[in-house]
Symmetry: D4
Subunit: 148 residues, 8 copies
Amino acid sequence: MLNVYLSGEIHTDWRERIVEGASGLDVAFTGPVTDHAASDDCGVAIMGAEESKFWHDRKGAQLNAIRTRKGIADADIVVVRFGDQYKQWNAAFDAGYAAALGKSLVVLHGPDHAHALKEVDAAALAVVEQPEQVVAILRYVLSGELPG
Amino acid sequence: MLNVYLSGEIHTDWRERIVEGASGLDVAFTGPVTDHAASDDCGVAIMGAEESKFWHDRKGAQLNAIRTRKGIADADIVVVRFGDQYKQWNAAFDAGYAAALGKSLVVLHGPDHAHALKEVDAAALAVVEQPEQVVAILRYVLSGELPG
Amino acid sequence: MLNVYLSGEIHTDWRERIVEGASGLDVAFTGPVTDHAASDDCGVAIMGAEESKFWHDRKGAQLNAIRTRKGIADADIVVVRFGDQYKQWNAAFDAGYAAALGKSLVVLHGPDHAHALKEVDAAALAVVEQPEQVVAILRYVLSGELPG
Amino acid sequence: MLNVYLSGEIHTDWRERIVEGASGLDVAFTGPVTDHAASDDCGVAIMGAEESKFWHDRKGAQLNAIRTRKGIADADIVVVRFGDQYKQWNAAFDAGYAAALGKSLVVLHGPDHAHALKEVDAAALAVVEQPEQVVAILRYVLSGELPG
Amino acid sequence: MLNVYLSGEIHTDWRERIVEGASGLDVAFTGPVTDHAASDDCGVAIMGAEESKFWHDRKGAQLNAIRTRKGIADADIVVVRFGDQYKQWNAAFDAGYAAALGKSLVVLHGPDHAHALKEVDAAALAVVEQPEQVVAILRYVLSGELPG
Amino acid sequence: MLNVYLSGEIHTDWRERIVEGASGLDVAFTGPVTDHAASDDCGVAIMGAEESKFWHDRKGAQLNAIRTRKGIADADIVVVRFGDQYKQWNAAFDAGYAAALGKSLVVLHGPDHAHALKEVDAAALAVVEQPEQVVAILRYVLSGELPG
Amino acid sequence: MLNVYLSGEIHTDWRERIVEGASGLDVAFTGPVTDHAASDDCGVAIMGAEESKFWHDRKGAQLNAIRTRKGIADADIVVVRFGDQYKQWNAAFDAGYAAALGKSLVVLHGPDHAHALKEVDAAALAVVEQPEQVVAILRYVLSGELPG
Amino acid sequence: MLNVYLSGEIHTDWRERIVEGASGLDVAFTGPVTDHAASDDCGVAIMGAEESKFWHDRKGAQLNAIRTRKGIADADIVVVRFGDQYKQWNAAFDAGYAAALGKSLVVLHGPDHAHALKEVDAAALAVVEQPEQVVAILRYVLSGELPG
């Protein structure tokens, strides 16, 4: 069985495409909370409001870290997706975190980001552009079967 | 003695300001190669040209990783600077890498980046805006002396 | 599934409130023996009486350590509760122990103790005042659902 | 050479008595910042004021953690002193942190605290009442010489 | 659930007394091969005869190490029994091995061996004389129940 | 239960002989993809063609590493088979990788290779010539039963 | 430079023969306190008398552990000597402790003990009978020079 | 300062070319004993003759392991050279060992071996053909200077 953590972009359907494509494979997926509003406000919603945006964010980010650290720690493979927009520093942070723990890293991004992501890619065992390639990787790793 | 690794932005003089400010303190600084061209081309310069930009970058990034991994592994404190420009995913990657190794993380960035960096800041023991604050931190950690 | 260790105060019903509140969630709870007399006397009851109170206590504390160390080592999250009374140094010890192992730490205490517990809180990913907030954290970490 | 970290109480001269007593021994001592005011306010002094006392304390406690974690990580022996006053939860936290890292723990406290500290004592390799006994321990560990 | 490794003496029924006494408890027991002849000769029986007794023993001891290392590595608690006869250096070796891995160590021996075993006992969380006391420890660790 | 990783030669039926021989034993076997063509071409088949044979190979080898690293990391025992032909450097690499992780290593090769493999054999707990001997080892480790 | 810990027998001059034989080599030796009386009584001499011999021994053994654990942790090579007399369980305990930490183990004993020490020998990288052979090993490891 | 371990082929002057080329750089080199005869016979020369070639080799290989394991464990960078001849399984073993410890791996071989070494190369941060390229890598890692 493979434990796979899906980190990064939350504004497209890449996670769904991987999860659906991998249906039937012996894979358990985890990932961050992908509801943007909940993820941003979870800290103050549970632990009380903050006047300062900085501490508002801190409370939320540390609460989310309980989930993301367990997900990455339990994972065999960490897939990190960089989308077309936003800074996505948390994605790169997760990639570094996973690399330092010796996890197998798979990076998913379009060709435009290749140069800017070269250090992240260099720590990965696979770099792909499409979620379906991640599915093909999972299938091959589990069964040795190649596409087509 | 403190070993301090200075990661991130290479286009302003923040490293110089820290190193000069800390002169007289018992600190040894390390960091990546900050000559942009050398850092980009080191791989092919030493190991031979590549037709594909992707592998050109890979060779360079992996060679640079020999230096950066040692620097971070040997560090007591990893300072990560996010400047105003560029994606700087390697900086966030280093922050995640350092966090997973249990290093003391200090993050240096302007207030505009605070929300986008909230996961990185949440893993840090200090978040500051100016290099001189990093110097003050190093002085305090070593001697207990506060500014002013 | 989350493994959660509940450390600290044994004189109020905070554990029960968390366990009941979390019924239906995929959580397994562990914790120390909370029968005060058994916990104090277990060592001599099983391994023979001691004349000296110091060694009486030692035998019991080391026997209890078999249980608490396993509980903390197996936990994803360690919740440490500081009540209104007593020194509760074992609670702070558990917090330090959990922090050094990289466990996600949640600290539960009233506002009066905030300053005295600042080092413990600073190692935590969440600080709350009510057991129901711990339940809300567990629910959010597992499902992304927020209260209300 | 022995690296010894002196954790805990900051209101009596126990550290001085150990350091002086050990003069001539091959020991390097480290410890937290013991200037109470500096230790409490270092965070806001360097990183900017906070309206909330909770975050004022957080900033300071995390900054101090840079020093204390390095001190404990580098130590062969961690001595933790519990004085007669205050909650001293940070001392117990340090003891737990040191124990989880496998450091040799020496606990220093009066007989009145013995029962309340039984879990901390049970993790220690030595429990003593006087700073001079710590000196005797360091001398014996280094040279095999006993007092008297 | 507790994983318990039973190391040491193979000439009395102490393992049976523990396993039977613990029936009904959530414990899984492992241990070395206790058939003396098989344990001595397993190496040559499977891998071919040796002229030299030294290598005959080596082959067997290394084969047995496959089993004992896994047993100890997977254990929460390692119980080491020293009987009245023989050198039993493998028992003391297992105790040291378990201690270095941070396992909870329980040592079982008669009072006559107390002084000779003081270093081993000093690494243990419990020292007892009878197998039934080991059962009582396991019951207490799992349920908090004391005998009688 | 034993997790056993079968590394090395892919041109004879040694894996089948072990798996069949061990039927009925509580063993789970893993290993690399043994379809030579799939193993060589998996990288480009999933991630796109490469002009250079070197990078063609790199893509495949890193993809295969996702499977092999998990297999070795999860294993209790790593069996490495050296056949009569080819360089088989990946087999020796796996042996070194497993040794550094503290896995129990079993090496399987004919007598002709003994001198060239002396460093690999010296890191092993067992060295055998026939797959049936591996089966006998697994049976003995699990049950204490010897052949014949 | 090699750090070498010399564990075990304290009644013959084997340590002196090694240290003298290795004069001129780049080796730093450590070891336990070898004054039998001091080693037995150090605990009570520094920390106060005990009525019970068991706790008298415990205090001493734990104090000695501060020294021995540091010595073994800092060592590249741990040499364990088994003499002709006594149980020497602490020597076997040190051997197991060193083995679990991955130290290079050298065992020194006469041929009469070979069978009883087979598990200890099987964890060693060298087994010798004379202190001069240990010196020859150290010289070879440092310089590649062989005797004669 | 960089610690560099030079593993592999012992029949050409590649080590000398690296050491000479790196004169003036802040590098400390270690490596195995490269006197073939001494390396083969060291075990029996010090520990006594063996009738069986297998155990003759075992004694030597384990003695050499004391040196090689320390060299690799202390290294920042492990360079592994594969020459044109022989099986060189010990070189591949060292590469796997170094990779599992997270060392920066540099592999040095001619183009003919590229396919057979693809798994080893895939674990490396640099793959080169000439010793002078290793020197250029060390210079760049230390100073950021590129050749020419």
